[in-house]
């Protein structure tokens, strides 16, 4: 059970948050221009890697803000937390 440093509220227990899956998958600006395959790539394909992963999190039982988090899924170490729209501070 991790402690997450919400960029708006500070450190809170994981139970206050919900995970929204992989981060930095932008909704296509012009979906109608896309082929079925391209749309499916956006819609369905997620990496779910063992290791460093970029994730979307929501402080659901707190400020309700969405933000991004870099987490090593093999040991749950959180390497960075940053606001939506910001560039990831780690590679």
């Amino acid at each position: 059970m991790f402690i997450i440093n919400c960029p708006y509220c500070g450190e809170r227990d994981q139970t206050e948050f919900s995970c929204g899956g992989e981060a930095h998958i932008e909704r296509p600006k012009q979906p109608t221009e896309l082929s079925d395959d391209q749309w499916a790539e956006y819609l369905f394909m997620r990496k779910n890697i063992k290791g460093v992963q970029f994730e979307r999190w929501n402080h659901a039982h707190g400020c309700r803000k969405w933000f991004n988090m870099v987490r090593d899924t093999s040991n749950d170490k959180i390497q960075a937390v940053y606001k939506m729209g910001e560039k990831p501070p780690v590679k």
Partner: protein, 1003 residues
């Protein structure tokens, strides 16, 4: 049989307080301070249970949480009885009533014991191999297996005890109150850190506290005295919280730990009344010090499981701590020095040790010398090859070991014994360390897995014997040294310690001891609880199992309630030996929480009964209760389901309510529908993007129905949204979908469209909604809001007015979910019940009838309106629902639009929503029933299923909605609904059954 084996000297047991208890119905006595196990042993009772598979007689083998055999059922009250309790852990209390489990009909005569004689036929994987094929045989075996296998009996009635949860945040948590834990707690507290020390026993001090031996001295006093003074000194620290009888269950990441505190299990039943039984501590510690100690290993030889065969260190604890002799003719069998401590303790208490069998060539340590000086007989380089005695060990046989230890040589000698102590060395308790994510390394020297310093999660440390330090001087000095850097200490009260202890130099380890017989003729037990033997492990390897995890599951080694605390190392050792692999390479199986079993009570705490989940009630709830509503759970909401009158059943009530709503007027509490207030200059654009239809041109004061999709094109939610002002809307959602819709909309706003100026606020609880429908609804509203012009021209269908009722602001909408002329009043929730009563009074002359969710569902089904979540299941597009009219085809984009013309969503043979009429108008279909065309071609093709079904009183016939493959094209087609005892003939129809022309909306 019942003899008193208690010796008189004792510091720990209060021999003035006698406690009576029962075991298998027999009345016995023990003393305050006893465990059930020590009291049984004092009464010369070793046989306490039967083993899992072969039903072999089994006795108490240990004195702690690793106990595999001494597992009992406590009490027989159907709500309080507690199965699978370790006799070695439960403290004796007045009136304790324990009985053996896993035996039938009794522990002394057990029918399952026949399995023991069949054991050559019951090898590893026997259950898999035999009972799984042919499948039909399983039914025959099942009765016998269920009856004779398995552990204790679960209570049959609900648990009346109170359980509690408590959160705690501390600087340092110390797990384990042995010598290293005590040192850790003191150092931490001395530095001023907020410290918690937990220990699963009723006393602190671990095994050192009863180590009354001149060989072990700290600062020139015996180690037990020194430790006892240290424990006393802990009282001086107000920042140190000590929790006894508290067992650590789980060590999760980020130093989040769960510990179960036993508060009343040691009290007599009368003293427990009104008290909390167990408390689950949820601890977040800045730093964790694991001082969980180590447990002694057994030795693996033929028939090593007989009652009376006990771990050597446990014999020592029974004599030194409890003052109980585990036998009167005790011998020891060992591969290390610690059994010699037991010999000295026994000797001191007047129990002569018959013989010590040691597999080593010799040992020159101080403690061994002391034993030899006492004149005790040691058989070096020897092994026990066999034991005799059914319900209690009677004798054992010894032979010399060959040089390589693979064989036995020379002649057998036989020794009588009523107790044999065994010691195979020590295993550090690394469970908690690995649970937290730590990795182990193997120390070849003494065959132990210990925490790998380099692979330890941050902010924790293992100290003492759980870290592989077994010698007293090592334990003390290394613990202090490691803590200095861990807690950042410079000088401590423990600097310059003088420690004396014997040094064990001679080591020899043989995982599976040889015998004069071939292995097939021996029974060397590994896992005592699950009855797996060394033979089983070897068989699994022969059959091709290689991974330790697979061998474990195939042989069930380590899969009992003790999680193989005693057996795992030997299983690994035998696998390594047999396959020629290094144990370090082999690795261990995974240690999973909880460390010892937790009660369900402790897990759920206070979240039982009405606290199990939140209950949401509308502001009008009390009126519904007073008027005999039956309630339905919708999410967390309690919604009136129907209002039975004069002993009506549900069907009768719903028929009456439905008829009244269409004949005159009905009233519904619709407050549970989700309400989201939407404001901002981009509110219209936002709605355009989240709904399938167009919103920009909706006039202020008008309402519109909207359908919301997931990005995959499937229908997600629906509801009516009203434009209250230029930049102000109020959206309604389904009752169950409210929270998720808000989250989803927030997600899009924050992450995909942050440029939109839109603010979302949930107002579901702030506003209550009263819906009045039916041909007389207009007359009733006219009485309540006399100032408002209700004409169709001023207040048409799908429009909204701000108004006042008794000086309270209301929002009045003319919208309909029933197809009738209908109004919805939204009012601040604290006025809602008053308004409801006012409506009822105004509606009296029109037979205004309150109705619940069931009638609402029936009325909307007559009109073919869908309920998302009932008629949809996340696999239906708007087109599948025959709702193509609601797709804004000209819109540039909306959530899910692109998915509506994927190759899969444009298929014509998708399941599509249709109406169904039964050939017999009285026959009502079951929701969920399958639809088929031809019952005779096998396999029968399932074309779809019924989603909604009712008997319509207004049409006087049965109606249903269903999803059917290619349903849109099949109007008029006959299908069959096959039921258990009949086939029902149905015809596919239009989805609208009632008032197809929508004339009643403006009636």
């Amino acid at each position: 049989m019942s003899r008193n084996l208690r010796i008189n000297k004792n510091n720990f047991i209060d021999q003035t307080t006698r406690i009576s208890f029962k075991f298998n119905g027999q009345k016995l006595f023990g003393y305050k301070g006893d465990t059930l196990a020590s009291a049984l042993l004092a009464n010369n009772i070793h046989l306490v249970g039967r083993s899992f598979k072969y039903h072999r007689p089994r006795g108490i083998m240990t004195c702690g949480s690793e106990e595999p055999n001494g597992i009992v059922q406590i009490g027989n009250d159907p709500s309080l009885t507690d199965p699978n309790v370790r006799a070695t852990e439960i403290e004796l209390y007045e009136g304790l009533d324990a009985s053996s489990q896993n035996c039938w009909p009794s522990v002394n005569f057990d029918i399952g014991g026949i399995n023991n004689f069949l054991s050559p036929l019951l090898p590893a994987g026997f259950y898999y191999k035999t009972f799984m094929w042919p499948a039909s045989f399983w039914e025959k075996y099942e009765y016998f297996i269920r009856h004779s296998a398995g552990l204790g009996k679960a209570p049959t009635k609900s648990d009346p005890d109170i359980y509690d949860h408590q959160y705690s945040h501390c600087d340092v948590l110390v797990v384990g109150g042995g010598i290293s834990g005590i040192i850790s707690a003191k150092l931490s507290a001395e530095k001023g850190l907020d410290t918690i020390l937990i220990d699963d026993k009723s006393f602190l001090g671990g095994s050192t506290i009863y180590q009354e031996n001149e060989c072990y001295k700290i600062n020139s006093v015996n180690s037990n005295k020194w430790l006892s003074n240290e424990i006393e000194s802990l009282k001086n620290y107000p920042n140190l919280l000590i929790k006894n009888r508290t067992s650590l269950a789980a060590f999760h990441g980020y130093n989040y730990l769960l510990a179960r505190e036993n508060l009343t299990d040691h009290l007599s039943i009368n003293e427990r009344k009104g008290k909390i039984r167990q408390r689950l501590w949820k601890i977040r510690a800045k730093k964790v010090i694991i001082a969980s100690g180590s447990i002694e290993r057994p030795l693996i030889f033929s028939n090593n499981d007989r009652p009376g065969i006990i771990l050597s260190s446990s014999i020592k604890k029974y004599i030194d701590y409890y003052g109980v002799k585990t036998g009167e003719n005790i011998s020891l069998f060992t591969n290390n020095d610690s059994a010699y401590e037991t010999a000295i303790s026994l000797n001191k208490s007047g129990v002569k040790v018959n013989v010590i069998v040691d597999i080593r060539k010799n040992s020159e340590s101080k403690i061994v010398k002391e034993v030899l000086d006492l004149g005790l007989k040691v058989l070096w380089e020897s092994t026990v090859i066999e034991t005799q005695g059914y319900k209690r060990i009677k004798s054992f046989e010894v032979m010399k070991l060959s040089d390589d230890g693979n064989n036995v040589v020379g002649n057998k000698s036989k020794y009588n014994a009523d107790c044999l102590g065994i010691s195979g060395g020590w295993t550090p308790m690394v469970h908690l360390f690995t649970q937290s994510g730590g990795k182990l390394k193997f120390r070849n020297d003494d065959n132990v897995f210990i925490p790998d310093q380099d692979k330890t999660p941050s902010n924790q440390i293992s100290v003492g014997s759980c870290n592989g330090e077994f010698k007293l001087d090592e334990i003390v000095t290394k613990t202090i040294e490691n803590l200095k850097s861990f807690l950042d200490l410079s000088k401590t009260c423990y600097d310059e310690m003088k420690i004396n202890c014997p040094d064990e130099k001679s080591k020899r380890n043989i995982w599976l001891l040889p015998s004069d017989k071939p292995i097939g003729k021996t029974k060397p037990f590994l896992d005592f609880q699950n009855d797996s033997t060394a033979k089983d492990v070897k068989l699994a390897l022969r059959e091709g199992f290689k991974s330790i995890e697979h061998v474990k599951r195939y042989t069930t080694t380590g899969m009992g309630t003790d999680q193989g605390k005693l057996s795992n190392m030997h299983a690994l050792g035998i696998i390594a030996d047999t396959t020629g692999t290094n144990m370090g390479k082999l690795g261990t199986t995974t240690f999973r929480p909880p460390y010892t079993p937790l009660t369900f009570g402790a897990i759920v705490g206070r979240n039982v009964g009405e606290f199990f989940d939140h209950t949401r009630k509308t502001a009008i709830h009390n009126w519904h209760v007073k008027n005999n509503a039956e309630f339905e759970n919708v999410g967390q909401w309690k919604r009136p389901w129907y209002f039975p009158k004069n002993g009506e059943n549900m069907y009768q009530a719903v028929q009456r309510e439905s008829k009244a709503a269409r004949d005159s007027a009905g009233i519904l509490d619709a407050s549970t529908l989700g309400k989201i207030d939407i404001q901002g200059t981009d509110a219209s654009e936002f709605l355009n993007r989240v709904y399938t239809n167009a919103w920009s041109k909706l006039e202020i004061g008008k309402c519109r129905y909207g359908l919301m999709l997931n990005e995959d094109g499937m229908v997600y939610d629906d509801g009516v949204t009203t434009r209250l002002g230029e930049n102000h809307y109020i959206m309604t959602t389904t009752t169950g979908g409210a929270a998720n819709v808000l989250s989803k909309l927030e997600d899009y706003l924050q992450t995909e469209w942050p440029e939109l100026d839109v603010y979302l606020t949930t107002v579901t609880d702030q506003y209550s909604t009263i819906s009045i429908c039916g041909p007389n609804s207009k007359n009733i509203i006219a009485k309540i809001v006399p100032s408002l012009d209700l004409s169709d021209s001023n207040f048409p269908h799908m429009s909204f007015k701000n108004t006042k009722i008794s000086n309270v602001n209301c929002r009045l909408m003319r919208i309909s979910f029933t197809g009738e002329h209908s109004y919805e009043i939204n009012i601040q929730s604290n006025y809602a019940e008053d308004l409801w009563i006012k409506c009822m009074e105004a509606g009296k002359e029109f037979n205004l009838t309150p109705y619940g969710t069931e009638t609402m569902h029936l009325l909307r089904a007559e009109k073919g309106f869908i309920i998302t979540g009932q008629d949809t299941d996340g696999t239906l597009t708007p087109s599948d629902l025959q709702m193509d009219w609601i797709i804004g085809k000209k819109k540039f984009d909306f959530i899910g639009k692109r998915s509506l013309y994927r190759s899969d969503t444009i298929r014509e043979d998708r399941k599509q929503l249709v109406g169904l009429l039964t050939d017999d108008p009285k026959e009502v279909l079951e929701e969920g029933a399958q639809l088929v065309e031809n019952i005779n071609t096998k396999p029968v093709e399932m074309l779809g299923h019924v989603t909604s079904s009712y008997f319509s009183p207004n049409l006087n016939k049965s109606i249903a909605l269903a999803v059917v493959k290619s349903g849109k094209k099949l109007k008029g087609k006959k299908l069959i609904v096959p039921m258990e005892n009949k086939n029902i003939n149905v015809t596919i129809t239009d989805t609208v059954f009632y008032d197809k022309e929508n004339k009643r909306l403006n009636a």
